[in-house]
């Protein structure tokens, strides 16, 4: 029992003492998550709006595939990307395995479906009357699109933040594609998974506390965005 208390104490000192290794790991995690969320958003936002607003022949099957990919396990993405970027894979010559870029590719694949699907849902839930009114008032295509973005902005931001939270907390992809290299690809989650093997319980615990804190901040963001409309009306 004593060692739990000791570990908590150690974790606390590491955090308030701005331990260099600890914050290196946290910053790697944040840089990775922000980068992959950024690129995933560039793909996911237009895709979500497109699926939400247009009717095309194979829409049903696209939606089913999208919903399937929502539950994509990280290790599946990990193995898939690994086989592509390993030296023996077709993208082997670009030296992406065990690097920042390798992890980012995996994480983008992980959250593009998530962001796309959430934005699609946000677009679906918009009131159709709005467009009809706008149309009857003579809105041009561009004006309609602006209105759509304005109306769905909370949903879009919520989707992006949810994607960010997903990559921040995942461990499978970072471990398989990054290799947990100290100072380079060691993230919060991979450090927690492997550093505790060294008996450095306090270090792992400190990272766990930081991860929880970040998740809490992210959820404050999501919550306030979901409630955003009501706040504005008040």
């Amino acid at each position: 029992m004593n060692y739990i208390i000791e570990a908590f104490q150690e974790a606390w000192y590491l955090i308030i003492g701005f331990d260099r290794e600890l914050f290196n790991v946290v910053s790697t995690s944040l840089r990775l998550s922000i980068t992959s969320t950024f690129f995933a958003s560039i793909i996911g936002i237009p895709a979500g709006i497109f699926i939400g607003r247009t009717n095309f022949g194979r829409k049903k099957i696209v939606n089913i595939i999208l919903n399937t990919l929502l539950g994509l396990p990280t290790v599946v993405v990990g193995i898939f990307v690994y086989s592509l970027i390993s030296r023996r894979g077709i993208l082997g010559e670009y030296e992406m395995l065990f690097s920042f870029r390798g992890i980012i590719i995996g994480q983008i694949i992980l959250i593009v479906p998530l962001i796309t699907a959430l934005i699609r849902n946000a677009i679906y839930s918009l009131d159709e009357k709005l467009y009809k009114t706008a149309l009857s008032l003579g809105a041009t295509k561009i004006q309609q699109f602006k209105l759509l973005l304005l109306e769905a902005r909370y949903g879009i931001m919520g989707a992006v933040i949810t994607g960010f939270g997903r990559v921040l907390g995942e461990v499978g992809i970072s471990m398989m594609l990054g290799g947990n290299i100290k100072g380079v690809t060691r993230t919060i989650t991979t450090a927690m998974a492997l550093e505790t093997n060294k008996g450095r319980f306090g270090f792992g615990l400190a990272l766990g506390l930081i991860l929880l804190l970040l998740a809490f901040i992210i959820n404050i963001g999501v919550y306030s965005l979901q409630e955003g409309k009501e706040y504005e009306q008040r």
Binding site: L32, S86, E95
Partner: protein, 275 residues
């Protein structure tokens, strides 16, 4: 959200994105075992090497089996592992060249304090395993094709026992995690001394068998053959081989202690021959 804030956020994001692109630097990928990495020895040796040779060493810590397969696929430049038979096969097949002995430590058999199989103090590891198997006491195996796992399997083979049954459990995890499992299950386990020392404060398992020559655990370093994988950083790989087997490198290994004990004994140069 107001405009200024969104512009600020976008700029922040783009800056972060580009700061993420690592600067091009000479890079050496060293695939090694969790036991070497977890011991902290590499953190002692590598920084001086990196500075001297202006290269960044990226350490991938996996089991010996996986380290070798990474090198075979060309995903590592050099390996530091401990499984002599597999190492020789690796060199034999043309994947690696210029293998050198680096250091050794030893394996130990851990078990619960009440020692249900009665192996405490036995001199022969093989006889101890036989006793554990006969009494069907819990035994935890790494089961991950690591050097430790290979060693364990070779001991079972010498004991002519095919371990199976509910008493024999494979974790498929690293040394530390497996020791924890053995601790919880009150089972026996073959572990490397370094990891055992790291954990000894937190577990109830005791060191029961050690000192058998069969438990000797030599580490070798092997650069990947540049004739087979032309892209590997062979020059810096050989520099690392040279450095780690030099007076300086060997002395560092000799001087490295943790928990009050020396974890590895240099074997490229014997301590008597240090200057």
């Amino acid at each position: 959200m107001n405009k200024k804030l969104s512009i600020f956020l976008i700029i922040l994001m783009i800056t972060l994105v580009f700061s993420g692109m690592a600067l091009a630097q000479d890079r050496l990928i060293l695939a090694t075992t969790t036991s070497t990495e977890n011991s902290g020895l590499l953190d002692e040796i590598l920084p001086t090497f990196e500075e001297k040779f202006d290269v960044r060493v990226d350490v991938i810590a996996v089991g010996t089996g996986r380290a070798i397969s990474l090198a075979e696929n060309g995903d590592a430049d050099i390996i530091l592992v401990h499984a002599r038979a597999a190492e020789d096969a690796f060199v034999e097949a043309g994947y690696g060249v210029n293998r050198r002995d680096v250091m050794y430590n030893d394996f130990v058999i851990l078990g619960p304090a009440d020692d249900p199989a009665g192996v405490k103090g036995m001199e022969s590891a093989v006889a101890a395993l036989e006793k554990i198997a006969n009494s069907e006491s819990n035994f935890i195996s790494r089961g991950d094709d690591s050097g430790t796992h290979k060693k364990e399997l070779s001991l079972w083979e010498k004991a002519s026992v095919k371990p199976s049954g509910s008493w024999y459990m494979e974790t498929g995890q690293g040394m530390g995690a497996s020791i924890n499992v053995a601790n919880e299950k009150e089972g026996y386990i073959l572990a490397d001394r370094g990891t055992f020392l790291a954990y000894s404060g937190d577990i109830d398992l005791e060191l029961l068998v050690s000192g058998d020559p069969l438990l000797f655990n030599p580490y070798g370093i092997i650069p990947v053959n540049p004739a087979y994988h032309t892209h590997v950083n062979y020059q810096k790989a050989m520099a690392l081989v040279g450095y780690i087997t030099s007076q300086e490198g060997q002395q560092m290994i000799y001087n490295y202690t943790k928990y009050g004990e020396r974890l590895f004994n240099p074997s490229a140069i014997t301590p008597e021959n240090f200057n």
